[in-house]
Symmetry: C2
Subunit: 448 residues, 2 copies
Amino acid sequence: MPSITGMLTFQEAAARFRDASLTPRDYLEQAIATLQEHEHRVRAFVCLDLERARQQADAATERYRRQAPLSAIDGMPVGIKDIIDTATLPTTMGSDIYRAWRPAADAEAVEAIRLGGGIILGKTHTTEFAIGRATITTNPHDATRTPGGSSSGTAAAVASGMICAGLGTQTQGSIVRPASYCGVAGYKPSWGVLPLRGVHPVSGSHDHLGVIAQDLDTAWATARCITQYRPTQASVQLDTRTGPALEPRPAGRMAVIRTQGYAELDADALQAFDARLEDWRRRGALLVEPGDDAQLAALCHELDRIPALSLELVTHDMRWPYWSYCQHHPQAVSQKIHDMVDAGLKITPQRHGAVCAIRDGILARLEALAAHYDAFVLPAASGVAPVGLDNTGSRTLLVYASFLGIPALSLPVLQIGHMPLGVQVMGGRFSDHQLLCHGKWLMSLSGM
Amino acid sequence: MPSITGMLTFQEAAARFRDASLTPRDYLEQAIATLQEHEHRVRAFVCLDLERARQQADAATERYRRQAPLSAIDGMPVGIKDIIDTATLPTTMGSDIYRAWRPAADAEAVEAIRLGGGIILGKTHTTEFAIGRATITTNPHDATRTPGGSSSGTAAAVASGMICAGLGTQTQGSIVRPASYCGVAGYKPSWGVLPLRGVHPVSGSHDHLGVIAQDLDTAWATARCITQYRPTQASVQLDTRTGPALEPRPAGRMAVIRTQGYAELDADALQAFDARLEDWRRRGALLVEPGDDAQLAALCHELDRIPALSLELVTHDMRWPYWSYCQHHPQAVSQKIHDMVDAGLKITPQRHGAVCAIRDGILARLEALAAHYDAFVLPAASGVAPVGLDNTGSRTLLVYASFLGIPALSLPVLQIGHMPLGVQVMGGRFSDHQLLCHGKWLMSLSGM
């Protein structure tokens, strides 16, 4: 279910750009038509830049005509989460404090997307600073439900076919969760892989830039474009031995993660998840349960410590700039952020160091297991998108990967009634490419 | 020569605040009077906030009356370099791009100074983004000469007695050099000690926040206030076993650094430097020359590689956000920055990694010698401040400490004609407190 609109996916479109049976400009016009049809209900965008987008699409059209596209995403309509700086469009951070803010520079990831020929359609709604109060975006599958946060607009715009991929960020659960709720592919890379310069910070220890896309190929192509033009110290660690394109690669043993966090899952979600695992097993997947491996059971036990520890690190890191916002713009800051800042101020440097040491210990345990398992599998959310827009959903099952800095995907392979739900796949640090290849294999096992 | 105006130093004033024979408000009014007398010539400030400063001074007065000052800098007039964010004052970065910019949050260091009761008098002029074209500030000792860059306004304001200390930043030489040219104390801490959040970046690998002050005690008190209220991972490494206040501590062996960079020194500067070393030797200092220690000679040889390597790292790091500024605001960016960005784009990730590895090797060599030497001594600039405002001076002798991330001081102990010049003292990483204590001893050896 890459799109609820029936538009060509970008992978399909790009093949036609190359054989000249479709132009990026025509494809963009379809995306804009889709947007105009659904945006009044979905409310994915803070602002649009259609004129520049059309100019860019014409330039891409000309490049394909010369058989010289700039990258694998040349001519692709993209959305940018509105905590990511853009020099050509406002960047509101989802906060009244930045209502009138227009950055002087693009974020590095935005620079890279422009250099690769990606077409920035506009800025997508985020919750307040990606951590505070919810935004107005609705779930494309059911307008009475949240699209998930904080990358709300990006996920909803991809799911409704307005864009093929978009930039999101994840501090605790903000890429994998909205991707799950909206039924699209989410890719939260290993920590540090995609450049954060020009992205408003929540927590230096937890913040990740990532991609929400129609499918894994498009997510990977977007991330690859960014690291090709704006490599980071971490991105050079990525396993790209098999080349930039993804291939479905059968995983060896995979570990099923089951934690106390499962208590949040309702019966339907748990049943759908387990049914999908059973189906994968029937098709040859080797999925090991914690009951069958004491080391894995011990890891699951350790993971249950993470939600509380993660909150300590995040609130500690939020000290800046949120303490200052609370001082200078107290009315504009939500109570949630006031409370987080207050909590963070109580954390001493000693406690902060202790939490980091615990994190390193849990990561070492996970990495040891990653030598025996090609992936770690668990639900990508604690159920389908909740009704209402104020609650953007639980982050319990998402925060493990954020806290540890390991890569995580949301695979859109579950359906409960009319609502999608994702399966989350995590891997060892910097195993991103291999994990995506396994993810693609799991998608094919699911008939997608 | 803490001040050219004869005003009480802050250390003297604070003693009188405590015995109630002077109030912070009265002291501030003296600073403002000094400012009003000299500012038309010195041009240290981009903007002032006298009303708020007076309110803060009255609040400090009340705290001393209750014998409850907030920190060792409570009631001290301070200036903030204008690439450091302030929520109460504009922050222009020395660039037309930010002419109208007013940050929403204070930089962490500014938060800490406010929490400690420091009184922010205003924002001090910087060269363009602390790396590009020079600013309008003049040298308080001679208005035909540069005060040095890039922390031009901070150094000039301290030297003319408008403030007791100010925040500066050093990417290559921007604290130690203006401190030397203006005849005041400069303290560039070990890399990472003072928080950079809210400071406009030049180069993540090189940027340091630091202090320019009337004397070393005041510089250290300012830095201590910042790390007490806003500790960093690095600040907890500082040697503070002997308590926060500085004591003059005789150094054991000290190494004289002599490099090819000395070729830039004119005869007067070299003579004044060597005469000061001879005087210190006569007073008991153990200063070892490279000719008497092969390891030290080898280190000096390695240091000569640094200016070129440093430029590679800095221009590489400048890719963001300067490339974007050059794209979106080409007319507002100086040719120097355009050229640096162009140079940086040519540096591959592989070359970047190689330069970092060379840096680590030179640092290891220096740290090994730091086990045998309490300090490394060299001139704090390649001569006195040049005539004219466009050339803010050479950074050759300053960049060693910036590239390696080791602490460096400028001690105002030389005089050539009417112009001051500093002696630079460097130490092993995180030896800041010990280095300042040795610096205080060297000041006392110099009769200061």
